[in-house]
């Protein structure tokens, strides 16, 4: 009788201890799982984000490369003309032939919103929107100020601004034009529509969201 009592008591203790142990294992396993899932989530999302930023940055790089190429080709046209002074530059840039040249650049490159020749006082000499151009002065723009003040061969990337022609957000890639003596003659300008980027981002974002959702579903 006593042995039987001891046996049942021992069984109770074992079951109790086993139950507690199993409960602890359940809890610990659950929290480890939660932690693991969190880590995996972070990792997978970070991978996803890395990929997305890569796509986005590549797209930007390609866009800017294309815009820069167009800007450089326009700048090369001016440089090949070997203009000596501001007068000859104005004359060169205001010709209808240049309007057609700019127009061709814009047509061949859809990212270009506008291409412009600017005089040393900020007046628009020629641009892709119309010929002859209306009287527009861009002396207040950051790129004009920056390039007039600094004799640099580098391209200046402006802050986005609302285009005075169509009120759309555009940012510009600008390059300084120098005379024979290195004096400031004006600026050549390529405007890129911000909408180009946001439209692409929207497509990427939607895809990203879809992928992200799929990604989170355990395989």
């Amino acid at each position: 009788m006593k042995q039987l009592l001891n046996k049942t008591r021992m069984t109770s203790r074992i079951v109790f201890a086993g139950g507690i142990s199993l409960g602890i294992i359940f809890i610990v396993t659950s929290f480890i799982s939660i932690y693991q899932i969190r880590r995996d989530t972070e990792k997978e999302w970070s991978t996803q984000l890395e990929r997305t930023t890569l796509v986005v940055s590549e797209q930007a790089s390609q866009t800017f490369f294309s815009a820069t190429t167009a800007l450089n080709s326009i700048s090369d046209i001016v440089n090949f003309a070997r203009l000596r002074d501001e007068k000859s530059y104005r004359h060169f840039a205001s010709q209808e032939k240049q309007y057609l040249f700019l127009k061709e650049k814009k047509t061949s490159n859809p990212i270009i919103d506008v291409a412009t020749f600017i005089a040393d006082n900020g007046d628009v000499l020629n641009f892709t929107r119309s010929y002859p151009p209306p009287k527009i002065n861009l002396a207040d723009r950051d790129y004009f100020k920056a390039l007039k003040a600094n004799n640099s061969d580098e391209i200046f990337y402006s802050v986005p601004v609302k285009n005075k022609g169509n009120s759309k957000w555009v940012f510009y890639l600008a390059k300084r034009i120098n005379g024979a003596q290195g004096q400031f003659l004006g600026i050549v300008l390529i405007g890129v529509s911000a909408e180009n980027f946001s439209a692409f981002y929207e497509k990427s974002g939607l895809k990203f969201r879809e992928r992200g959702i799929h990604f989170l579903i355990p395989k």
């Binding site: 997305t52 930023t53 790089s61 990337y157 957000w169």
Partner: protein, 594 residues
Amino acid sequence: MKKVGSNLGSGASISLYRNDYILMTRWPFVDKLVGIKNSNSATQEIIGDRTTVEHGLLITDKARFSTGTASEPRMVAARVVNEFPFIATVVIPKSLYAPNFFSHVGWILGLLTIGLILLFTFVRHVLFANSQINLELLERGLVQKALGDANEKLETLAYIDLLTGLPNRQNLIEQLNLAIDKCKITPSHYAILFIDLDNFKELNDRYGHDRGDLLLTKVAKQLLACVGSDDIVSRFGGDEFVILLSHLEYKEIDGTYTAELISQKILNTLTQTKHLDGIEYRCSASIGITIFGQEPLSEFEIIKRADIAMYHAKMSGRNTFSIFNAQLQKDFEYKLHLGELLKDAIEQNHFEYYYQPQFDNHLNIIGAELLLRWKTIEGDEILPNIFIPLAEQNGLMIKLGNLAIENAATQIAAWSTFPFLSNLTLAINISSQQIEDTNFVHSLITCLNSHQVKASQLRLELTESVLITKFEDAIRTLDLLKSYGIKLSLDDFGTGYSSLSYLRRLPIDELKIDQSFVRGIVEGSSACNLIITIINLAKILNINVIAEGVETKEERDFLFENGCFLYQGFLYSKPLPLNEFIEFVRSWKHIDPE
């Protein structure tokens, strides 16, 4: 600009910054943010942390959580645009990346909860089942223990007397059997002392059973103190104790010497005064002794012999011991036989009725006492002092008394037709057993009524022993008899132990002076003073006094001179059979000088 992708959730965005953190464009597009430097952006933090530079790329430090302008946590990744001074960033809010995570956490916690509940239920069920088993086992253990205790108690009850703590009858019988077996192997001698307390019933009746029990416990201790450690003192039942004496020396013939000494010691011890809860009591006992070991006897035979010896001691006046012998056996068997004969005699009314006249001082016959004579069918004449106690011992007294009452009523009724007999009072003796019988008064009155006899013509003579037990009950019965007009006489007055206070409460009409005192008159002993005292006592109580056993003229004169005017005895007439009595009364009338 139109906002796009707003359905992605608040806080989600893909942006392009200039390397001085001026926002060039973003999706979804927000006018007020474009062209503005994002000085608090998490991007600055990411890009500024150059430790994450990898292959010319600036990327997130593994896309960590951060907080932005919105209160909601967001995840931000940033990357420098290759060869251009721009930074591309992607931001997603918690609402995008967290739901599935929290959904999984919810699932896990849910499963955990269910698992814990199931586990808890299982463990609880097992523990509960185990506890039930434990309880059952414990209960079983307790029951077994209780059964063990009960068995032990039963065993104790079976062998021990609870009141005194002495071995009981069963125990003694077993010990006796052991002794008998030992005698078969080795010649030895044992003695059985059968002890019966004298008048124990009276103690119980008078002072209550509590005091009776107290006496038994005290007696038990005293008995234990009187015997050796190898002797066994047992309570045999009621007020009977039996002692088994061992190791009686063989040279003492049959061991009686030792047994006698111990018996005497017991008698001396028991007579010591005992304090019984407020009263002082001195008891005595009658002891029967039997020795065994020499002849093969059963345990019952041994006990029976001791009982016979005890009975003899009781009959010998109590407070003494008696040793069993063959004569006692014979006497005992004769009494048994006589008891059987008496029973038959009562059933068949084989008694002879004698009438002894009673006289007043003018020699008028005032009545008679009815006396029973018994001659057995074997022709032996048995005296009343033999068969009356025998009837009491055999529980035949009430039947015998009823015979006497029936005879008396019949005679009184018959005498009513004779003028010289019609005024006589007939006295009969009644015993204490009759008085104690609750049906006595009813049957007596019924008998008188059935014979149309006046109750005043019947006189009941009772002895003082009637008053010893249940005094109050006896008084009530006597009062009831008195209320019917029956006369009461106290027989053998002076031989017992009536106290004056009791006498005063008795509703008696007459005191009867015992013949032993009357016989003492001629010897000039102290009996004379006793008689004078009794007579004066009767005067004080204003009741009659009658003397029995008057055999000489001197006795009669002494009684007359001292105020006793009623007589019964051989001086006038011996007890007479009915016909002779009637003739005597008729003749007496005839020779009456007055």
